[in-house]
């Protein structure tokens, strides 16, 4: 194994492809990802910023989640997931190839666009999908460079690609024309979702998503991430200024005020200032009373952040059921789950494939 090093990922890909190696090129950083190489040719790439083959096929409804999971269970160990889906008649070879090609180039952009990143090459590593397509590494690199250029021609602000998408409150023109993908993006942008989240949610390719977002930015329909950062300190200073003129009821307001800097990603720095001039009702800042929570923490009755609600992915924990326990009666009686739904689908698809072969 090549030790982890910081290097241009594209150079290493050229090198291992030139040596006709087999393995996985793992690129760190944000968004990072991996490119899988089989005897010097690229067979697949994946990145958290680009929906993979499974997400594309299931979120579009092309495959039932259960069908995809079955193929994963059966084929992962032998790296034949792709071939299994075709053999079982769920996909045509053409669909599989087009889907893999699309998602490979899509992910390759996110993996290889970075100039410098930590890069690992894991020799002999293969992807569970199995080799479906074989792409020349030089073609992948050329296309990545071209895609970077295309985006800059639309709107040269790479911050748009990673920052949460915030539609503008007021459109800059009387009449706005949107394409269908742009409409989908604006409808689902809630001010929190990043372009990667939107791509996963909508089952759209990651590159197509940021391409549309750059177009929206060029039209002035989403807020530019670069512009929002200087606004941050203004908000914070405003809150502090008000603090000096507002009387004793301030502590409760202070408990709320961190919500402003949290949005701006500056959770720590402004807060000491907020305590620099305490209202007369409070003890001096050097001695925080035991019952007054520090500004970063919620009121003392609640657990600290990180325990439950640290991020969108961490939902509050529910009580665990014992393994093998039955559902409570009222729930079990209420819904009658369809039995063997996936099996029926598999069977029908095989019958259809067989009938088609007879034609």
């Amino acid at each position: 194994m090549v030790p982890t090093k910081t290097a241009p990922p594209r150079e290493l890909l050229t090198q291992v492809a030139g040596e006709r190696q087999t393995g996985a090129l793992v690129v760190g950083g944000h968004p990072g990802g991996a490119v899988y190489i089989f005897e010097g040719r690229v067979i697949y790439a994946e990145s958290p910023a680009a929906p993979g083959v499974g997400e594309l096929l299931t979120s579009s409804g092309r495959l039932a989640g259960r069908t995809w999971q079955n193929a994963l269970d059966l084929g992962t160990s032998t790296a034949r997931v792709g071939r299994l889906l075709v053999e079982q008649g769920h996909l045509t070879q053409g669909e599989l190839e087009l889907c893999v090609l699309g998602s490979t180039y899509d992910a390759a952009y996110f993996v290889l666009a970075a100039e410098h990143a930590t890069v690992d090459f894991l020799p002999a590593a293969t992807h569970w999908l199995g080799p479906v397509v074989h792409i020349d590494a030089a073609a992948v690199l050329r296309e990545v460079r071209r895609r970077v250029r295309l985006l800059d021609e639309i709107h040269p602000n790479p911050l748009i690609d990673t920052a949460p998408v915030i539609p503008v409150t007021r459109a800059p023109r009387e009449r706005v024309t949107l394409t269908a993908p742009q409409w989908e993006l604006l409808v689902h942008a809630d001010g929190q979702r990043t372009p990667a989240d939107l791509a996963q949610l909508l089952g759209r390719s990651g590159y197509a998503t940021i391409q549309e977002l750059r177009r929206l930015a060029a039209q002035g329909l989403i807020e530019l991430p670069g512009v929002r950062v200087p606004e941050g300190p203004d908000f914070v200073r405003l809150a502090q200024h008000r603090g000096t003129s507002v009387p004793v009821t301030r502590p409760s307001l202070k408990g709320e005020s961190p919500s402003v800097p949290v949005i701006k990603g500056q959770t720590e720095s402004p807060r000491p200032d907020a305590f620099a001039d305490p209202p007369p009702g409070l003890p001096p800042p050097g001695l925080p009373p035991p019952d007054l929570p520090s500004p970063g923490l919620p009121p003392s009755g609640l657990p600290p952040p990180g325990e439950h609600n640290a991020g969108p992915g961490n939902r509050p924990r529910l009580a665990r059921r014992k393994p093998g326990a039955k559902l409570p009666k009222e729930i079990a009686a209420a819904e009658n789950p369809p039995v063997h739904q996936g099996t029926d689908e598999v069977l029908l698809k095989r019958i259809r494939t067989a009938l088609r072969a007879l034609r």
Partner: protein
């Protein structure tokens, strides 16, 4: 099971076919190519193809207001040849178009269009 390469081979059996490719029209990238391309440059041809499809799809009168009245074919004729574009409708997100370049003397527009329809249907048979 016909794959992408098989589809392109079949496209080349269309009478008068000189070259064929499958182009991703969001990026103007040729996903697969075979035969000749105008000016011997498949990538430039793909970029041009993408512009044409984008123009027809988003900025013109041809975009129908009726749901699911989607763009099917684009046919461009020149003095020397026919250029046929057929949208490949996949259920998953991909924006692909099958492009076939026909020689004007040997090519037959109607035959080629029918054949391309069958090829894209077979590629994505659902």
């Amino acid at each position: 099971m016909p794959g992408v390469d098989h589809c392109l081979q079949e496209a080349m059996t269309i009478p008068g076919a000189v070259g064929a490719s499958i182009v991703d029209y969001t990026t103007g990238f040729p996903v697969a190519t075979t035969g000749a391309a105008p000016n011997a440059d498949h990538e430039a041809a793909a970029a041009g193809t993408a512009d044409v499809v984008q123009a027809a799809n988003s900025r013109s009168l041809f975009v129908s207001a009726i749901p699911h009245d989607l763009l099917e074919d684009l046919i461009i004729t020149t003095a020397g040849g026919y250029h046929l574009l057929r949208i490949v409708q996949t259920e998953f997100d991909s924006r692909l178009v099958l492009y076939v370049w026909l020689d004007r003397v040997n090519g037959n527009l109607a035959v080629a269009r029918r054949k391309m329809q069958r090829l894209t249907d077979e590629l994505i048979a659902t």
